[in-house]
Symmetry: C2
Subunit: 417 residues, 2 copies
């Protein structure tokens, strides 16, 4: 059974930009994991005429329609009525749902529980009910005229709950086989160069498939295989994986990891080493990114954000003579910052960043985008100079990427750059 | 001129759930601010047949089609060709765009700039070019058969840039009259409570209108008026603005500012005061957020990320006896951290955060979400204890919000909480 799906969000708040359609992203990712091809996302307002037209279009081009939103008890919640009218399906009353909702409201609100609105207990005739333990709107699935229709509440927490507990298990039962994927993460090669190196593989690859995803300064490649078993999926992926890996060399920094900082934290923990950071232009971004990760405290001791020369000199101990002679944005100062934060925190490794994030040049005439990354280790020190172009956020993001990449390279015994 | 708009995102990565369609949300919000009604969002993959069908449907039900994504130089970037074919518009070559792209690449990559791919210099005949100073793909606008077609790159930074600098000014020119809005930003009141306080105003308000936008821990209210002149818009908004302001009291932290940190930076600069930060569970997030703002160096001196007791004691000078007696997550330690970072950086004000971001309780049994915020000022010190619930990212974001709010309250002579 292979579905062609359309996800239809109902809600004027989406069209006003009040909220992002995160349900569509979540559902798409979940559906991909069970081999359902999502071909369209649509969002439409709380308007029965336009919703009816959207349904007419969707049932011509897809055979699995998933509606999110508009299942609540208020006057503008019209999904159920409109969908059922379009498919010629009656709504029937489910007394057991009234009881469920009443119990839910009692648990959440106690003595102050509002009266249960029994409108939510009307569901399409013959449907599979998706019971909602985290809200009042149940979901449902019915099949009519070769089309499978799913309705889910729009509140992200409820949509997730019913997807994970109701829809995905239901689809797994229908589906024969397994889909597996691996994410390969690269740093230091821009997407067009990745495309150039892998163009022939991307064009040819069907099962497994190979697709690139670009982020600021990074590229991710996703390898996906479909087969009867997980083992067979891995077998299908192995030769392509090997080929891609060989072509990418040490630009490939990790497989099935989320970020450079996650890889660095992994390596630090494997090697039992600790880290600190001294940041000028990144202003805390390196510390923030590594402490975003649960378990960071096992390896990251802390750092100093030295946004002024005073803090560089008095907290980090950067010699004032260096600051005067070379200026704050210089290789000697980057190195002294890394050595300074390593000394005061007692960490094994330390990384430092000093540079010009803009919008203006610094007082020594360094261009916006000039960045120095320093590394201090027990046996080694290094400084790298970068010209990162323009855009304050971009420069800061890339500078942090390069700092983590320098650590990653040091920790895997690669040339630092 | 009143448009009925459809936003069409092109990109298989959306249908796989790899990214959320944040462009659609951003565009919807921007379009609402100039009085354009968005009726549909659609997302479709990098597939010319399906995209062509989507265009055929869209031009029947909308008269402003805004495409995002698929304008890059790679083989799966097919938006321009497919849209132009559907509308019977030729692509023409713009040599000046090649020059712009070359300059952009030189600025960003310096000597290592890749060759410019001139495919991006082909644009629809007679279009208005939206010049892209933050990437290589220009946007464009053309009108054909009563439909206005806009194409924007999908990279959120580029989409935003071209929307703000190109599309919105272009739409304002088309529009008769003026639309003005003011954003009121609140902290400390949850959205349902805001709704409760303002329900009657929101229901009644048409011109000016009043709409809420929720973010993590914050609420923004947008007041929008349409009239012949800007002065008339302001006149229309004044009574409602006053009423809302009175009802919200000091939960209202700013008008037409982007964030709490921006308001704090504004206040610091107005008062000629400097700031530093000592961060434990926020791990650099406060420093990162304030240094995201251009001009932060006028007031922010720097900070210390003290992720371990060692750094708290040796860098910030928190007495070991306090750490032993009360534990790192405690009011006395929060206070000593703020005082310590104020002393070593020489700042006028200092803020500190120590808490349990999770996933686990700390070794003293403090629950996840327990957070202490400290403030040290020349004439005052304060500590506030918070219970922020669960979710590592959420706790860190809220803790930073509360720290900035404490500073905001101090700097505007309000009770600190």
């Amino acid at each position: 059974m292979s579905y062609r799906a359309e996800i239809i969000a109902v809600g004027t708040e989406l069209l006003l930009g009040n909220v992002a359609n995160t349900d569509a992203q979540f559902l798409s990712e979940q559906l991909a994991s069970v081999g359902v091809d999502v071909l369209y996302h649509t969002a439409v307002g709380d308007n029965p005429t336009r919703l009816t037209e959207v349904i007419a279009i969707a049932r011509r081009r897809a055979d699995l329609l998933i509606f999110t939103g508009g299942l609540g008890p208020t006057y503008d919640d019209l999904t159920k009525e409109t969908v059922c009218r379009a498919f010629g399906v009656e709504l029937t009353f489910h007394p057991e749902i009234v009881e469920e909702i009443r119990q839910y409201l009692n648990t959440v609100f106690g003595a102050e529980a509002p009266a249960c609105d029994s409108q939510q207990a009307w569901l399409p005739e013959g449907c599979t009910v998706l019971h909602n333990a985290v809200g009042t709107a149940p979901g449902c699935i019915f099949e009519k005229d070769g089309v499978t229709v799913v309705m889910l509440p729009g509140v992200p927490r409820e949509c997730r709950y019913l997807t994970e507990r109701g829809l995905i298990p239901w689809l797994r039962q229908k589906h024969q086989g397994v889909i597996l994927s691996h994410d390969l993460r690269l740093f230091g090669l821009r997407e067009p160069l990745v495309q150039e190196k892998l163009a022939d593989l991307m064009d040819e690859a069907v099962n497994p498939s190979l697709a690139p995803y670009a982020k600021t300064g990074e590229v991710m490649l996703r390898l996906t295989a479909k087969a009867d078993t997980a083992e067979r999926c891995e077998e299908l992926m192995a030769p392509l994986f090997w080929d891609v890996k060989t072509r990418l060399g040490d630009y490939l920094y990790g497989v099935d990891v989320d970020s450079l900082e996650q890889r660095v934290l992994q390596l630090l923990r494997e090697r039992g080493l600790t880290l600190s950071a001294a940041e000028s232009c990144t202003g805390g971004l390196i510390a923030k990114r590594i402490t975003d990760l649960p378990g960071a405290s096992a390896a990251f001791l802390g750092g100093v954000v030295s946004y002024t020369n005073g803090v560089k000199a008095h907290v980090l101990g950067v010699p004032e003579a260096l600051l005067e002679e070379y200026g704050a944005v210089s290789a000697p100062v980057a190195l002294a910052m890394a050595q300074g934060v390593r000394r005061i925190t007692g960490s094994d490794l330390a990384v430092s960043v000093t540079g010009v994030a803009g919008p203006d040049k610094d007082d020594r005439g360094n261009e916006v985008g000039t960045v120095f990354i320093g590394l201090a280790a027990p046996d080694d020190t290094a400084v790298r100079q970068l010209a990162l172009g323009t855009g304050r956020d971009r420069i800061r993001t890339l500078a942090a990427h390069y700092a983590f990449d320098m650590l990653r390279r040091y920790l895997t015994d690669l040339p630092i750059y």
